[in-house]
């Protein structure tokens, strides 16, 4: 690891001023991704400002939802009574990610800022436009079985790895940030992460020096029918090949509201807008779920080695919606073992 200056911030203003003054400085949250990237020499900040002692760790009720602190850990958030009761989709998604040890360290703000696990990005001897703009994309014509089927560009086909963010996308979360020239601002979740376009090195729309202070979850009536399904190569502690956050509210047998977001398929959490549109107002039946999945996946553009993801994602949408419909408990017994 290359040398860097380390400091601890006691308040957000100090943290923001210190990072803003140095284009090569970074906030250090749980460090579970940042430290790894520094060890691999993918990133080499000249200064780290530890922000885990800042007070943005609470989870509190607001007039129209819940605010979760940017510095709260993933474990704390997933297990908080308010989240488990009202946003079980978020709890499930967080608990599907990484391991207990990592969730105990990782912060909510840091989770949103984690970077792709594309092997070409991680291997500094390979070309990668995300790591080194202009160097090319090793994955486009290389081994791309884990890569994007939606929204990619010739410059980058990497996928975004967070499970938590897929649920936040479905829940229409809002990111609260502080710093920069504007002081404080809010970013709707759909606008937080970016598609690669010509600048894949920019993962999201945070500006240098901006700090995620909290994430707002608007109130909804989706809790009774929600499910986070994660498909991976081993049953735990692996990144998703494809994941689905599915939630709906019902009016009798009809679908009043429905949210579907996919992980592992694009440069950002992929909101399945076509599928949602098809399902709204229709009966909650497996036939309709299948039609919705087909509509969404008809727009997929797989690469050479990841055509399997098209069928996998379609099947996963149907399965996740079915579990969500059944209110099928949340967990392996009620969910993954039941027939669809």
């Amino acid at each position: 690891m290359r040398p860097f200056k380390f400091s601890i911030a006691g308040d957000p203003e100090t943290a923001i001023t210190t990072v803003s003054a140095n284009a090569n400085a970074k906030f250090l949250g749980g460090g579970t991704n940042l430290l790894d990237l520094m060890k691999e020499d993918v990133t080499h900040p000249s200064a780290l400002i530890n922000i885990t002692r800042l007070k943005h760790t609470a989870i509190e009720k607001t007039d129209n939802g819940i605010l979760i602190g940017g510095m709260a850990t993933n474990s704390f958030t997933a297990n908080h009574e308010k989240i488990r009761k009202n946003y079980p989709l978020l709890s499930m998604a967080i608990l599907a990610g990484a391991s207990a040890q990592i969730r105990n360290m990782a912060t909510n703000g840091g989770n949103l800022n984690q970077r792709t696990r594309c092997t070409y990005f991680y291997d500094v001897s390979m070309p990668c436009n995300k790591r080194e703009p202009g160097s090319g994309c090793g994955a486009l014509k290389g081994m791309n079985r884990n890569h994007a089927i939606f929204g990619w560009s010739e410059k980058c086909v990497a996928v975004y790895p967070s499970d938590m963010a897929v649920a936040l996308s479905a829940l229409d979360a809002v990111v609260h940030v502080q710093g920069g020239s504007t002081g404080k601002r809010t970013i709707p979740f759909a606008d937080f992460h970016r598609l690669p376009g010509n600048n894949p090195e920019i993962d999201n729309n945070l500006k240098h020096g901006e700090l995620i202070t909290s994430i707002e979850l608007p109130e909804n009536d989706l809790a009774d029918h929600s499910y986070y399904l994660k498909i991976r190569e081993r049953s735990s502690y692996a990144f998703a090949l494809v994941s689905v956050a599915a939630a709906m509210s019902l009016d009798g047998t009809k679908i009043k509201d429905v949210r579907i977001a996919l992980g592992g398929v694009a440069h950002k959490p992929w909101r399945a807008a076509a599928a949602e549109q098809l399902l709204k107002g229709r009966d909650a039946t497996i036939a309709n779920f299948k039609a919705a999945a087909t509509a969404e996946l008809s727009k997929a553009k797989p690469l050479e080695h990841n055509k399997y993801k098209v069928k996998l994602a379609g099947d996963a949408i149907v399965r996740a919606l079915t579990y969500a419909l059944n209110g099928a408990g949340y967990g392996i017994e009620a969910g993954l073992h039941s027939e669809v």
Binding site: P3, K5, L35, D36, N50, L95, I102, G331, I332
Partner: protein, 262 residues
């Protein structure tokens, strides 16, 4: 061995225990430490309970040389003074800002129980407990540990009494090469507390039900231990050990010494 490791004097109890078990080799052990053949011999001399007691004696014998005098720093860049507690002892160290907690424990405090496996957060061999929560020491900068309380495998036993999880791992042979074992045991100790506190996992049934201790099925234990990888595949025995500590019933031991070896 040209450089013989220095060991402190044995207590009377330790000396008599060793003399009783291995009268021929006691002097060699005292001068050159515990070797594998001593270990194997000890193993054949003793039953499981005895083995546990004596392993602890040896472990403490080895560990004692490590406390009190942190190793001096070398080649520090952007030095940070850190004061934190490790296994109940306050430590004050001047550290390179790049140093991970794992390296500080192993290289500066000589606490080599926590193992460096992948060094990238993928294997769990370096798991320690900070302020009651299990974390990966390879992804923790030591500089972030100011005022924290760190517990490593060396700090789990209570004096001469092994932690119940350590005893259960021995009873159920929850290790083969043993390299991942310290991290597994730290993880398992924290896991039991997490379940008691009602914390959910991805496989917990009905995550919306809160406030109740979670009963650990084998499925739950496997999911919760999935951050600790064991290449030998000692998993079934590890699950048995954790079930034993978490539940109130003894779990049957699936191995025993062959006839005639004791």
């Amino acid at each position: 061995m040209e450089d013989q490791p220095k060991f402190p004097d044995l207590t009377d109890a330790e000396r008599s225990a060793l003399e009783e078990l291995m009268p021929d080799e006691i002097s060699e052990i005292i001068t050159s430490g515990m070797k594998r053949r001593h270990f194997l011999k000890l193993f054949t001399f003793t039953g499981t309970g005895l083995l546990a007691t004596h392993l602890l004696g040896i472990e403490q014998l080895m560990a004692r040389s490590a406390t009190g005098n942190p190793l001096p720093p070398t080649g520090i860049e952007n030095g940070i003074n850190v004061s934190f507690k490790v296994n109940g002892n306050t430590q004050q160290l001047l550290l390179d800002s790049r140093m991970t907690l794992l390296d500080a424990l192993r290289e500066r405090l000589d606490l080599t129980g926590s193992k460096k496996g992948c060094d990238h957060g993928q294997c769990g061999a370096c798991t320690v407990i900070i302020d009651g929560r299990r974390v990966l020491s390879c992804l923790t900068l030591a500089a972030t540990c100011e005022d924290r309380e760190v517990t490593t495998i060396e700090g789990l036993a209570d004096g001469n009494k092994l932690h119940p999880m350590q005893e259960a791992f021995i009873k159920h042979d929850g290790f083969q090469c043993g390299y991942c074992t310290p991290g597994q045991i730290c993880s398992a100790v924290a896991l039991v507390n997490e379940a008691k506190d009602g914390e959910a996992s991805y496989v917990t049934n009905n995550i919306r039900k809160t406030g109740k201790a979670v009963e650990l099925s084998d499925e739950e234990i496997r999911e919760r231990m999935s951050g600790n990888i064991c290449r030998c595949g000692a998993y079934p025995n590890i699950v048995n050990a954790i079930r034993e500590v978490q539940g109130d019933k003894a779990v049957a031991q699936v191995w025993q010494f062959a006839d005639g070896t004791i």
